[in-house]
């Protein structure tokens, strides 16, 4: 029997994971706070990483990454030149993978039996990109980094 989750604990796990991963790979501090309930319709400009997850609960992480941060992540992940758009997307995808991996590791250890697993990440680059989260409980978090503010939307649904 899986212990009952509190949605705030799921969100906290993702916020802590994002702070931890940014600090580990870029060596900078991140300040984050919940900015409100998630929206069903979310519009992003720039680079977005998307990671789904499933297990005892399912959901999706959307990470809106400012351009200077995606470039810094690319260099921290071994890139040596100015990244091409493809390379920015590779860096964003891996960043989404790291954040979701660390968050779900923490959640699985906190709630044994959850067995929540991420799906392979994907990333998009563009202007006025619209994403939809329907039938889920959502939360919006703004994380302030020295490279600009990163927006994180966590949508979550418990499986029956």
């Amino acid at each position: 029997m899986v212990e009952r989750y509190q949605f705030s604990e799921i969100v906290d796990a993702f916020v802590d994971a994002a702070k931890e991963v940014v600090t580990q790979i870029l060596g900078v501090e991140v300040v984050g706070q919940q900015d409100g309930a998630g929206d069903a319709l979310i519009t992003f400009d720039g680079v977005v990483a998307v990671v789904g997850f499933s297990g005892a609960f399912s959901g999706r992480l959307l990470l809106g990454i400012p351009e200077p941060l995606s470039v810094a992540l690319f260099h921290a992940l071994g890139g040596e030149t100015l990244p091409s758009p493809d390379e920015e997307l590779f860096a964003a995808s891996e960043f989404g993978n790291l954040v979701s991996g660390h968050a779900l590791t923490s959640i699985n250890n906190r709630f044994p039996g959850s067995n929540a697993r991420p799906s392979p990440p994907s990333a998009f680059l563009g202007k006025r990109m619209v994403f939809f989260n329907f039938g889920t409980t959502g939360s919006r978090v703004i994380l302030a980094t020295p490279y600009g503010d990163m927006r994180m939307d966590i949508a979550f649904k418990e499986e029956p």
Binding site: F74, F90, N97, G113, P120
Partner: protein
């Protein structure tokens, strides 16, 4: 020691290659998913495999199961952003005894590879 690197991220595959430069470990093959990993393992017979878990087409644990069925002595380092107890227990049950959570430093990777090569 000949190493097969398995990860869907080209950045991570490059990081592993760079970490191995000038060391006792030589990357002899790269796979982007579990299916390619199984095929390349059979072809290259590497000494060590670094294996991501979350990948398209075929995930890392499914690939490990097939690699270990082909070669029960395969030495696999699980290199994943995930590191929870349930996952590691499942990996141990399959016969994977070594893991390193991403992100990793080159030093931590080489140390894990060295430990695995001695084991």
């Amino acid at each position: 020691m000949r190493v097969l690197v398995v990860d869907d991220s080209p950045l991570v595959r490059n990081m592993v290659k760079k970490a191995c430069l000038g060391s006792a470990f030589e990357v002899v093959g790269e796979a982007r998913n579990g299916e390619e990993a199984v095929a390349l393992y059979r072809e290259l017979l590497p000494d060590i495999v670094t294996l991501d878990v979350t990948m398209p087409v075929k995930d890392g644990l499914s690939a490990a199961k097939e690699i270990l069925a082909f070669d029960p002595h395969a030495r696999i380092l699980l290199l994943s952003a995930m590191g929870d107890e349930e996952l590691l227990a499942e990996a141990r049950t399959l016969g994977i005894m070594s893991s390193l959570q991403k992100p990793f430093t080159p030093q931590a990777l080489l140390s894990a590879l060295q430990d695995l090569s001695r084991g």
